[in-house]
Symmetry: D3
Subunit: 247 residues, 6 copies
């Protein structure tokens, strides 16, 4: 089966890191396609970035449909455009925040999400509510580091993640940690070792979930809310995004 991992920002080094992480957990026979869009924000740090990452992500879904992709993963912790993607794709589409939170909820009664910027906390709480995961989420803690700082070798960001996790355990009563940024995928195993509690990375969790859904013969319901977009012609520079007939 073919799974397409879409990093909705344009920073290729991050996409590569995710691909490496994801490859490690794939079942034999699963092919992974990891991409970044050709246009849009290099990092997603707020609602404006999030909104403008969506067209590039959707362009990749559209391409994926032509490529015979079986399932998609949207690999930014804001799960940008998840429902729009579900309309467009035939196969299942999983967001990494979605996968990480659901996974944590079956491993521990309470988790804390550790993310990069404080301004993203509201968006993450919205997702927790939307997915029904609010009741498991004790806190969303920000380490106050810009997303791309995680990419810089030798940055202090990694230590700040560890520190935030320890506070989450002691103060929030967290019994698991959810990594709230796709760029943390490579910390995950080490962090779990250090902390002695489950540490969930959404990228790998989402890839495995997508793989399972395909194995189970399941896909997004096309009956109502996630039916194909209605056929119409968009205006101006977005004309290429016009939803067309599907056969």
């Amino acid at each position: 089966m073919k799974i397409k991992l879409i990093n909705p920002n344009t920073t290729w080094s991050m996409t590569e890191k995710m691909a490496v992480g994801a490859q490690r957990v794939l079942a034999s026979g699963t092919e992974l396609i990891a991409v970044s869009p050709a246009f849009g924000p290099p990092s997603i740090e707020g609602w404006y970035d999030d909104a403008l990452a969506v067209p590039g992500m959707l362009a990749e879904i559209k391409k994926g449909e032509a490529e015979g992709v079986d399932a998609y993963v949207i690999a930014c912790f804001g799960d940008p455009g998840l429902y729009a993607a579900r309309e467009l794709a035939k196969g299942p589409v999983i967001g990494i925040a979605e996968a990480a939170m659901h996974t944590a909820s079956v491993l521990a009664p309470a988790f804390t999400i550790v993310t990069t910027l404080a301004r993203s906390r509201g968006m993450i709480w919205h997702l927790a509510e939307r997915y029904g995961m609010q009741r498991f989420c004790r806190n969303v803690r920000a380490i106050d580091v810009e997303v791309l700082a995680l990419e810089e070798p030798g940055s202090a960001a990694r230590q700040r993640v560890v520190d935030a996790c320890r506070v989450a355990i002691d103060v929030d009563g967290a019994e698991a940690i959810v990594l709230g940024c796709a760029g943390m995928v490579d910390f995950c195993a080490e962090l779990q070792q250090t902390l002695g509690i489950p540490v969930i990375d959404g990228v790998t969790a989402a890839v495995k979930w997508a793989e399972s859904l395909v194995a189970l013969g399941l896909s997004t319901s096309k009956r109502g809310e996630f039916a194909q977009p209605l056929v119409k012609t968009y205006d101006g520079m977005l004309a290429p995004f016009s939803p067309g007939q599907t056969g």
Copy 2:
């Protein structure tokens, strides 16, 4: 004061209809600018359309900032890109679903929203939850008519709205009606007359709320979640959307 009414779809006849409705309720001294984006979907009927209406809407916010706009109204019942717009604008930004639901909640203990397509019901319930208005919303009823049918003279859509409202009163126990599509703005007064209960149109409600906020000297908090987007350079065709320095 200057209020900018942004119809996020590109159908100018709808924008014009909204402008006419809004003009009627403005205080003296309020100037209304009503626009449609230069690009994007001609109607918004699902998550995909909604996502792709956002860039055009945000372009209009950006222009508005240069034009000295005091407050904005996003005039589609999905409130597309509302939080992204709040990051970008200095003045307040109100969505029409937001305005309509809040308004209905101070007039009646229970309302039903009447919208066009069934596939939009989920999105509207999400907004009701996000705004805290779920507890007042008894139902979201769809008349199963495409958005632009409301624009066709002599269409049966108007009667279907009346019929849906009557069912809402009898079956849902609705004591007020919220019109769930900006294109219904011109039905509002007549419908209220017919039904004998409050009928709330979001376009006019939002314009008045925006006007009040400016009069009160209030604006979006820029302290955290809605702070200006971080300065960065977007890639490819979205480079013109790169968030820049603001002075």
Copy 3:
């Protein structure tokens, strides 16, 4: 149009202060009538005071109906008797807690309410829930000062409000402040200047909302819960409150 501002306590200096604040934000053509009841508690500091402020407030609504009032504002942060008033009045009735919380919710993702006495916190949380605003309300902080202390020139109360707001920002993560007492109306602008985030006073917010509703041709639904009180004869000293025929 005529808007009647009812301070449900009998302290006229407070009523006057509110009237001054409200006058500043009115549209041209709006006439404001500001009153206190002839009987009842001089300040409202708990459920008992709240309950006994209601008869005097309702007497003012009844008079207002004879005076041709278009809309009412109940100007105590417990919104005493709001639903009873909605039964009695033909025009819309807005509570200041209601107006302040709804307004804050469209300006910031999270607000804290700063009030006078700790014993009122429970009542305010009840209102937040009733209005659907609980999800935006991070905390209700009390400065532990009796309501009328706000009226004394040179009291330390003003500084305690500032201090509580700063703690709200730092500890609660509040991105806006709601003033939880009608007697704080004259602090509002200065406080907003000091704190750099929106500070919402319910009195002015409610008056503008009432004005907008009248401009929009909207009023309380009379279909069910808020229909006119059933005609009947009350006993004893409350006989003058007997709900009568309305024509």
Copy 4:
């Protein structure tokens, strides 16, 4: 011990009926005082009546404190002034809606409340939420009969209650019935016999709960929200209600 049952309306025949019902379930050694206020509405059918029943009810609490009452029951299904009464009384105060709903929740997973007028349904739902009982309450059904019709011998009201209960069982999936009006106290046993599921009357349930609390040595917490009203002088006709020193 002395328990005071306060019917907050002035209809003595209803009070008498409740007293008869309550007497039947008292433990030996419990003395019941059943009263109606000297002033106020003869029946409570909406928010306005509810608000104006409170002063008379509070006057009875005040008298009760002088009479050495150990616990109070407020015997109208809107539980008018319950929290104000808790401030004033030293002993526990129970509302009949409160007692009935809590009781039903330990006997069945789901109940329906059968009340008199449709306009009271909103108020009852508010109480269900306030008491945490919303999750057990499947529906609030009104038989559309005025409260005092229950007092008329030979009225059809009794049959309408039975009919509503049967619909509640079949349509709502109710596994218990809560009688939503104090005036139904004398139907309770017969109705339970007829329906074969628990039928809970709030008057008797509240009286027994009050009795138990006294036996357990428990009373309302006076630490915060329900502390004695602050000492102050009320104006005008309500001066006799001024909260005074308690010793």
Copy 5:
């Protein structure tokens, strides 16, 4: 009437202590039967113990049915097997956590539960949610002492309970305390004296509630969820538990 108090653990000293406490509050004419099961865990400290205490408790219910018991109390703060017991028993069955939380909710707007082990906190929060009492529960605090330590004369556990209560009042804003372990029954009165706010012990509260329900002629609904277990034959060592015909 006969009330059977089942301590679901096998520690008889604890059962005896509960019986002493319960005897003190019984009405004349009520007979109390206090038992521990013949098999199972000696203390219940987590989900595993909880699950394995249920068979022994159910065996006692079955015996009770033969003994003509009118109502049952399950006397462990996790309320183990409460719904299974409701299927089996003809009379009402009350859990002590259930009774304590409901009781606290009519005495104070907010309570904190003080329990023994931190690992039980999640289970208690589940119960608070299930009973609708979450909105009154500010916190569940653990004193980190094993359940049976409460049985040892001279242990420091009693002081730790007092300390936890004081923190609950100061930090959580608790206005009442719920004792979160049946083994604390004998602290209750003294603790209430010390703290000056209501302290609720579930054992006595449950016994009185059970007694009231019997006096009111009320019992568990047998219409749906709590109908008698379907007749069938269990396998192996649990064959004696097979649900049989009841006549």
Copy 6:
């Protein structure tokens, strides 16, 4: 890896059917052990059966720990003893109701659960709430057929499931179906074909999720609520269940 599928009832034909279904979706390299307990109820139809299925299920977990099992699936739609099992097992433990509901929630905005007996509906709603899945669950419909009827060749049960699903789509607005009984595992693919929307069987969904968790190196958090049961000696016939030292 070794995954142990525990059917908590003693009906081996059902276990076998589940094993067949599960085998079909396993990744290469996964070994499945499917068992029924040696003692307990032959079917689980209510809270009493559910409670008494737990000891047998836990005995299988204990054996599994000795057998080197990597993850467990509890294969009854009431997820009996899930949290007790999490305390006992080192690897992850997934319930089939849990897996089915989470899975459905990423495929459709709304699902209905179709189960066997009406009396189980309450238990299933409890699980939906506990897992945060209530917001996706539109209804729990019962076909009123005993669990073991699904095992009889030629029974009408299968058609009743189809009928219930169609009503779920039309009346509840379900966009996916969750099969609410482990015994329906063999209907799943055919039903999905017939209905044209996703049909989720919990047995296969849980097995794939368990497999993914092991691949991801994730397990139940042992930090708090799900730590190993405390070492102690149980009394009587349950002595063999005494939690022991683990090394």
